[in-house]
Amino acid sequence: MRGRQAEEEAASGAVPARQASAAVLIVENGGFFTTVQDLGRPGYRASGVPPAGAMDPEALRIANRLVGNPPGAAALEITLAGPALRLTEGRLVALMGAPGPAEAVFPDGRVEAVPFGRPFFLPSGGRLRIGRLGGARAYVAVAGGIAVPPVLGSRSTYLPARFGGMEGRRLVAGDRLPLGGGGLSALPPDAARAALRAWGRARPAAAFFPAEHAVTVLRFLPGPEWDWLTEAAQAAFLGEVFTVSPASNRMGARLKGPPLPLSRREELFSAAVDFGVVQLPPGGGPIVLLSDHQTTGGYPRIGAVIAVDRPLLAQLRPGDRVAFYAVGRPAALRWRMERRRHLRQLEAAIALRWAAALAAAGLRPDAFDPAASLARADAAAGGTTTA
């Protein structure tokens, strides 16, 4: 639905003038590896289409909420070191994920450090430069979202088949990304600045910044072939430290560590796998499957990292050290529900802070409510424009 609406927005002039958007995000430098991602591409795994999507969906959701977007709007996923970007129209912007140095360069030449976890306004012609991250990944959300055409219901980039996002590839200098309309993207610059003054310096999302770990402990559910490991190998897997290999990517984190001999070797036929599943190719190191994982796999599955630790997996850099800690499924569910509750509380807190900031700036909050403005855009796309 989201996709059809955006296509029609882009294709027709039938949206109210303030929501029709020719605004563009210009890539001046792609950084180390930057892609367009949303919450992924569900529903096509039986056709071999991986879920893709943000490696850290929580950070993406929070970044979107900070600029008043629906949580699943498309944003930029930065890897290791950030890009340099320029806006052709003033917009609210937010950074979330592993913090790193970031600065806004204003059209008058003034340079200002900008925070992670709090919205800021970048005027038309303003530039955003992001340096080396304190982890592996961070997100740049822009009010209105990145409006590249959706493919199979998602704007996420899937590199191996080269579709989604910006022509199915990472961003390079010269790329021009269309921005969507609606929500807080419709705030005029002066109103945005007034509202941000009222927002203050609070960073409610800071509790969701990834912590730095000497060793990242990943909670782990033993899987179908756990018993194929010898007793010594099981003890080594749960007792020793592994190092993330530079051969890791969005498909999987490859780990180097102690040898993990199997006491059984039977033919396995490819079956469905999922984010976090730990495969052990015979004679190789364990591989933890990530966003772009193949839909099926035929290697022994010694287990899976629990869902609540996905943000930790998203932040692993080559050379980082990890250890595994065995838990049970009921506990994994309990932690997951707790985490979800915290995330919902944070999203509600951000929405309340925006409502208060807009009111303090003399603006009607409901005029910029993302849901309300999307409904207006839908109505407009249906041809009953009021503009």
Binding site: Y44, G48, F163, F269, A271, T296, I306
Partner: protein, 253 residues
């Protein structure tokens, strides 16, 4: 061989995936059983069911762990979550869906009667095989002829003279795993995978043959190429072949 009507094992993988295992080895009959169970679950999806992902001998159920536990009345508000295993909840919900999908036997529960032609579950009509034109000009044809002792003509005759079943789609969007390659053509995958196999390449490895939808690395023996596009993200459905389809390769010049 008896056609399994129900999974023989239910294997959890992580919190959100449950694998229904139907057999130790793939076969067209196993694939038919997987398709039947998939269709029943599609007809009666349980709360929290997200996706159904067929494998060679399995059907993967991707589910929302919180939703399946909540559907059984557990852990709705934190209390009672101590003992709630989402995989167990997903299994109970899936079994209920499958049982509801059967005609009840006169004595109560339908799942006790042995499956038979009279159970109302007519086998799917055998559709005409999908024909895939192939130019048999693959870069590994020569090496394969040497390895198997077959002539190029024999290889083409054997490969195109078989009707294959789509056992599953995986590896890449739209990549069909087809079985089964005639015995004389079976060779293990190449010891050194190619870094670049073009889109449309037709390969074989062991008892399987397949078609690369995209240029990618690959370890199969490339025997030919097809102009048929296996995956088109702009099309609905995006895939050319689906699990259970029958396929015949037609040699073209």
């Amino acid at each position: 061989m008896a056609v399994p009507e129900r999974p023989q094992r239910w294997v959890p993988l992580g919190e959100g995936l449950l694998l229904l295992e139907f057999a130790d080895r793939p076969s067209p009959a196993v694939t038919e059983a997987i398709v039947r169970v998939r269709d029943r679950l599609l007809a009666r999806p349980f709360p929290g069911l997200l996706e159904l992902i067929p494998g060679y001998t399995t059907l993967g159920l991707l589910y929302d762990p919180e939703a399946v536990v909540a559907a059984l009345g557990g852990a709705s508000n934190g209390s009672g979550a101590e003992a709630a295993d989402p995989a167990e909840a997903a299994r109970r919900l899936a079994e209920a869906s499958l049982n509801a999908g059967e005609d009840p036997a006169p004595d109560g529960r339908g799942d006790r009667s042995p499956p038979s032609a009279a159970s109302g579950e007519a086998p799917r009509p055998a559709a005409e095989p999908v024909e895939i034109p192939v130019r048999y000009d693959g870069e590994d044809l020569e090496a394969l002829a040497e390895r198997t002792g077959l002539s190029r003509e024999d290889i083409v005759r054997l490969h195109s003279g078989t009707i294959y079943t789509v056992y599953m789609i995986g590896f890449m969007p739209g990549f069909p795993y087809l079985g089964e390659v005639p015995e004389p053509l079976r060779v293990p995958r190449r010891s050194v995978p190619r870094t670049r196999v073009p889109a449309g390449a037709v390969g074989i490895a062991g008892a399987q043959t397949g078609i690369y939808p995209y240029e990618s690395p690959g370890g199969w023996w490339i025997i030919g190429h097809t102009p048929v596009r296996m995956f088109d993200p702009a099309a609905d459905p995006p895939v050319r072949l689906r699990i259970g389809d029958r396929v015949r390769f037609v040699p073209v010049e």
